[in-house]
């Protein structure tokens, strides 16, 4: 918007004190290159016509209606805060967490700092075959000396140092041709030092043929799994592979039916799964239970079956069936002047490039509407002039981008001593104290 419209002023409102969302709280600590995009964001935020207001919860501190009065256009890009629920018995036992909470925990998201995940068991089960599932498996099994040099929180590093987990099963309802993770992440997992992949060759019979004419990405991904499954343990050239203390594996066509409790009924001790067969093929294949069951012993269950968008404000229409804000090219249906971008617009899937391009699409809609007069800018709107007074009267103190830069500098300085890119501050109160608020 700033680049293509010389007069636009863009204000960003964020619930947390700090900006960047999933780039800070979702991307794994051992993927620092993915976070390089923060530099582009920072440049944008420092623009004179851009202002950042952290610590403001839209829907509570200020309503969408109030924002619409104060601004010519409002764009919602608040993502997907919730996790899809399994909906099975035992889901609330101790030892069962959503991958989102677990990721939030090791990435320093304030609301997940008290998670205290139970890492005292040998076997963990991750439900799901996406990149987030691989992330949590990798963080559980990574050698400590590698994690130590990342921006993983100190607290979670200490917990992982005491972890007894040595085996992680990634369980999915469908087959190898339906895995949602991507090849770079799979390759990383296969090459994870000190671990050995356990893939059952029987799961891959006939697949070489099935992907012969598939699009290149699916073909290469499947071929990598096949190659890994057919390798003999001694073949791996990695150090210490034969005597690898830790292992991970993929289990297919298993649908979780219940988390089984320990004798005292309090903690997870295993998971019961229905074996499935596939109807249809490719992306639309459906997993149908065969009637046979299987039990897998484990003390830690991480559910990685997808994120969920939560409704924000009664003034914003929400399509409960599709779980998104109903829109057309980012224009919210039935609400002129209201737009949406990112996961709230398309659903919670895709990598940074997908969401980035999607945002450009919404920005294009806003620019078009400005150009043809659908957005009437003939009379000025007050912008933060109006919102700021409302917030003040409600006792809300926004945090500015330069405030964030102070926090950023403090985190980097603290990290230096420990050889980490930063030591994240996980307590919002501590952040506010640092700023002298």
């Amino acid at each position: 918007l700033l680049q293509h419209h010389g007069g636009a002023q863009v204000d960003i409102y964020e619930k947390l004190l700090v900006p960047f969302g999933l780039v800070r709280f979702g991307v794994a600590p051992d993927h620092p290159e993915v976070k390089n995009v923060i530099n582009a964001f920072t440049q944008t935020a420092r623009s004179e016509r851009c202002a950042y207001y952290g610590n403001v919860t839209v829907g509570r501190d200020v309503t969408v209606a109030e924002l619409q009065q104060a601004y010519h256009a409002v764009v919602l890009s608040y993502g997907a805060e919730g996790s899809r629920v399994l909906g099975i018995p035992g889901e609330n036992l101790s030892g069962v967490y959503s991958a989102r909470e677990f990721v939030g925990w090791y990435n320093g998201l304030p609301e997940n700092q008290d998670l205290k995940p139970d890492l005292s068991c040998e076997t963990a089960v991750v439900l799901g075959h996406g990149n987030v599932a691989l992330d949590v498996a990798r963080i559980l099994l990574s050698p400590l000396q590698l994690l130590r040099k990342t921006d993983i929180t100190d607290c979670s590093l200490a917990a992982l140092a005491c972890s007894k987990v040595k085996r992680v099963w990634l369980v999915g309802r469908r087959g190898p041709l339906q895995v949602a993770f991507t090849i770079k992440e799979l390759r990383e997992m296969i090459n994870l030092p000190g671990t050995r992949p356990v893939l059952n060759p029987a799961d891959f019979t006939g697949l070489e043929n099935a992907v012969k004419d598939a699009p290149r990405p699916r073909k290469r991904l499947t071929e990598l799994m096949i190659k890994t499954a057919l390798e003999k343990p001694g073949e791996r050239k990695m150090e210490g592979q034969a005597a690898a203390p830790r292992e991970w594996g993929l289990k297919f066509q298993r649908s979780p039916q219940a988390v089984l409790p320990t004798a005292d009924g309090k903690r997870a001790r295993g998971i019961r799964m229905a074996l499935t067969h596939l109807e249809g093929s490719g992306d639309t294949a459906k997993a149908v239970p065969t009637g046979d069951m299987e039990e897998l012993e484990c003390g830690l269950v991480l559910s990685s079956i997808g994120y969920q968008i939560l409704p924000l404000d009664p003034a914003v229409p929400f399509d409960t069936q599709r779980g998104i804000i109903p829109n057309s090219s980012g224009r919210v249906e039935g609400v002129p002047g209201l737009y949406c971008s990112g996961w709230v617009k398309r659903g919670p899937t895709g990598v940074i490039i997908t969401t980035m391009n999607d945002s450009f699409d919404t920005a294009q809609s806003v620019l078009e509407d400005l150009q043809v007069g659908v957005l009437d800018v003939s009379s000025p709107r007050e912008g933060f002039g109006a919102v700021g007074s409302l917030l003040q009267s409600r006792g809300v103190h926004p945090v500015s981008f330069s405030d964030w830069e102070k926090i950023d500098a403090a985190e980097v300085a603290r990290g230096k001593a420990a050889g980490k890119p930063r030591e994240k501050i996980v307590d919002p109160q501590e952040m506010l104290q640092l700023l002298g608020h």
């Binding site: 290159e33 995009v37 090219s329 940074i352 450009f360």
Partner: protein, 131 residues
């Protein structure tokens, strides 16, 4: 007169066809990656090079002419892995951050691929013009 220190033999001209069809011409130094060219010359290509050349995204995806493509250096598994996620992948696609400018590339033209939203808009415009 800082440019006097570079011989003109080091300068290579590269043309970029942007998503909207506009032709952007840049002067590159031999050995620079095409991502560096875009960044150093401040070319107006939205969202190009988000991960800053670390093979962690596919936003510097470029499409080459067949003969230019065939003369480029070998492609690594890591580059293929990221290209696999690129929208509009072609047989002559590469990531700009992995392709370094050579003298033999003087005058070459590369195309910035359209993304999903571009295709959607094209379809919408197509539909409207048929009404």
């Amino acid at each position: 007169f800082a440019n006097l220190s570079y011989s003109s033999a080091d300068q290579v001209t590269v043309h970029f066809i942007n998503r909207d069809g506009e032709r952007l011409t840049a002067t590159a130094k031999e050995g620079e990656s095409l991502l560096q060219v875009v960044v150093n010359q401040n070319l107006a290509i939205d969202g190009f090079g988000a991960c800053e050349g670390t093979l962690a995204c596919s936003t510097c995806h470029l499409i080459f002419e067949k003969d230019t493509f065939q003369n480029l250096g070998a492609i690594s598994d890591e580059e293929l892995d990221m290209l696999d996620l690129a929208y509009g992948l072609t047989e002559t696609s590469r990531l700009g951050c992995q392709v370094c400018v050579k003298k033999s590339m003087d005058g070459v033209t590369v195309r910035v691929p359209m993304d999903v939203s571009d295709i959607r808009k094209q379809l919408e415009v197509g539909k409207q013009s048929k009404q």
